[in-house]
């Protein structure tokens, strides 16, 4: 049997054994004295008492009405001894804590807002609602803006996915709160930059002052000053760094977007290559088959697109200070890039291989052995409108031969589809035999010799001879299936010594550096008769035009020396092995192995030959 005491804790009545009572009241007294000096000590006390009452209540029941020593022990154990409460509420700390508290509350004004995805109000990934939270605007506007972006090459999809990956979702309360931070507006970013810049300025001033003082007062401690300077510099660097980072972030995003749009239009052929050339046709002519085109496009998309997207991704991360790195993103970006690279490599090698070997095919025609042969050019019958390149020129009156160089290729259209057109060239050489001969040399490249010669054979080029008249087509045609493989056609007239050839005016663009004794170039050789001598072609009716050239001809003939400079009353003539500069009453003439420039009464004429 034990004596019990009746006590009142927090308005609840307990019957408690005497020894238990002793312990409990002693315990409560200790706590009371512990909190007596603290702010709100009585309140703490009453809170603790009501908790004790609750605990004791749970220990008693209708059957067990008395609080025992073991119950009190339990209460003390779970409540803990005052020394275990920690220094939190001792008055020595309380005032200090209070100060910190106020500081913190004031500091709230500068709560840094973070960009998070809002998982709570999401449609897809919560990107829009996250952005809306960040800028404190209604999510509807963001979504509308995103929809509008659809019209810019589907930029929104890419943007959304990048943002989805780059921005972490607000999962914890803290993140959700940081996401919705109270103080934010659309100027947040510029403000932050401004603030940082201002901070920087202040610091510079501060350091400046300090440094002055230090230098003044502590002459004994130059080391201190040095440390300050180092501190200052690192501080400045850090601050400039964070301002710069934001700017860099914005730049990266802009650059990324620009590149993306460029890539997009490239891939989808909106503005492909030069506008005068039908890019797709050229590519089709270049690549082996349609599959390669798709592979190549996919390859470009991955090879260029991955870095572009990573630039945008990085820009967003920098701008919004997203610190977490997603290894999967970097890894898969690397894989995508390599994938694109591999595709391009495959297409490149495959296409390049098709240019591997070269083949020439010769077709011989015998020509009537008249003393004089007439060569004329006929325009290959193509409707001008069918030539794509011509569409760029308004003046359809012009012959396209006037604005197309011999080295240019064209794309023609007919009922069967597209085909390639190239300019044929004419050359005249000395025949080894006594009869005139006409040779057409067709040239092409291919994966192997057979392929190349097959392609060369397929080149469609016509020459008609009618008595002493030779008619050359100006263009040759290449089947679409034969691709563009640097096909070329050269008409070679082998002329025996003593025979004469008349070059018609129409040949102007077909003549290409035909060797002759006077080094006259193609466009001046027309409309004249030429005779084959054992030294080469010689002009028959060039009198008055090239008096001096016949002089120089001699020079060039005995030219074991390679240069010749002549300055006479008639003009200047400088001659080297492969080039010539000439100034006379006719005008200016500059000639190199591949390029000719003339200024005469006709105007300025520049002629180049692209050696392949």
């Amino acid at each position: 049997m034990n004596k019990t005491v009746t006590i009142n804790i927090s308005g609840i009545i307990f019957h408690i054994e005497e020894d238990a009572y002793e312990t409990l009241s002693k315990y409560l007294l200790t706590i009371k004295s512990y909190f007596s000096k603290a702010d709100g000590g009585t309140e703490i006390m009453s809170d603790i008492e009501s908790r004790i009452a609750e605990m004791l209540q749970s220990k008693t029941s209708a059957v067990k009405q008395v609080v025992l020593m073991s119950d009190v022990d339990f209460v003390i154990e779970s409540m803990g001894k005052p020394e275990e409460f920690g220094g939190d509420s001792s008055d020595t700390n309380s005032s200090e804590n209070h100060d910190e508290q106020t500081d913190n509350i004031n500091g709230l004004q500068n709560v840094k807002k973070r960009l998070y995805r809002d998982g709570d109000s999401k449609v897809l990934g919560g990107v829009c609602s996250g952005i809306a939270n960040y800028f404190n605007i209604d999510v509807v506007w963001i979504r509308i803006a995103l929809l509008i972006l659809t019209f810019f090459a589907g930029l929104n999809i890419i943007f959304y996915v990048i943002l989805w990956i780059a921005i972490p979702e607000a999962k914890t309360t803290a993140e959700k709160l940081a996401m919705k931070g109270e103080k934010a507006d659309i100027n947040n970013i510029s403000k932050a930059v401004k603030e940082e810049a201002e901070q920087l300025k202040k610091r510079i001033e501060k350091y400046g002052d300090e440094f002055k003082n230090k230098a003044y007062n502590n002459r004994d401690f130059p080391r201190n000053a040095v440390e300050k300077i180092v501190d200052f510099i690192s501080d400045v660097v850090m601050n400039i760094g964070s301002v710069l980072l934001k700017i860099i972030g914005v730049f990266l995003i802009i650059i990324g977007v620009v590149f993306f749009l460029g890539l997009f239009s490239l891939v989808f052929g909106l503005s492909f290559m030069l506008d005068s050339i039908n890019g797709k046709d050229w590519i089709n002519l270049f690549l082996l088959d349609g599959k390669d085109l798709y592979l190549g496009v996919i390859g470009i998309a991955f090879f260029v697109g991955t870095p572009v997207i990573m630039i945008i991704y990085g820009g967003i991360k920098i701008l919004f200070k997203v610190h977490y790195t997603n290894r999967m993103v970097n890894l898969s970006a690397g894989i995508f890039w390599l994938f694109g690279f591999a595709l391009l490599l495959y297409v490149g090698v495959r296409t390049g291989n098709d240019f591997n070997k070269e083949a020439k095919i010769r077709e011989n025609f015998s020509v009537n052995s008249h003393d004089t042969l007439y060569i004329k050019m006929t325009e290959t019958p193509i409707d001008l409108l069918e030539v794509d390149e011509a569409s760029d020129y308004d003046d359809t009156e012009k012959k396209y031969s006037e604005y197309n160089k011999e080295s240019d290729y064209l794309i023609g259209k007919n009922a069967d589809g597209r085909y390639l057109l190239g300019h044929a060239q004419l050359d005249i050489i000395k025949s080894q035999s006594n009869s005139s001969e006409l040779v057409i040399v067709k040239e092409s490249k291919g994966g192997d010799r057979k392929m190349a010669s097959e392609r060369a054979k397929n080149i469609d080029y016509k020459i008609t001879t009618n008595d002493s008249l030779i008619l050359c087509d100006n263009l040759f045609k290449v089947n679409n299936a034969d691709k563009f493989r640097f096909q070329s056609v050269k008409v070679i007239l082998k002329l025996p010594i003593g025979k004469i050839v008349f070059l018609d005016k129409s040949l102007e663009n077909m003549l290409h550096d035909i060797d002759n004794t006077t080094n006259t170039y193609g466009s001046e050789m027309i409309n004249r008769r030429w005779i084959m001598t054992d030294k080469g072609l010689k002009c028959l009716d060039c009198k008055g035009l090239d008096e001096e050239s016949s002089n120089t001809e001699n020079d060039s003939d005995n030219s074991s020396k390679n240069e010749n400079v002549k300055i006479t009353v008639n003009g200047v003539d400088i001659k080297a092995k492969d080039s010539q500069v000439k100034l006379d009453s006719n005008g200016v003439k500059i000639k190199s192995k591949t390029t000719k420039l003339t200024i005469d009464e006709k105007g300025i004429h520049i002629d180049t030959e692209n050696k392949k």
Binding site: I31, D39, I44, D47, G80, Q101, I105, A174
Partner: protein
Amino acid sequence: MVNSENAKAQMRKGVLELCILSILSQGEAYPTEIIEKLKTTKLVVVEGTLYPLLTRLKNTGLLSYRWEESTSGPPRKYYFLTEIGQTYLNELQVSWIELVNAVNTTIQNSK
């Protein structure tokens, strides 16, 4: 050997305030409920730690409370976050996460 218990207790005490505020941000609660929640995470060793803290938070204006009669015991003091408390918590949580990240990085780097 160095006693790590003390260090652990110090750590727990440091974050207790944050935890209490976080718990209350999910809705009002009276001390016993708070303790139950804290106990499951082993943050509170002795309950006595809580009361002075609650009072201090209330006095600073981060928390407020209302009384509610209990059918089975003394009236309960239901604590809830004030507006200031909410903002304060936001800030605290942010810096806490930064701290944790920083500490984790430091620990991992020094491993």
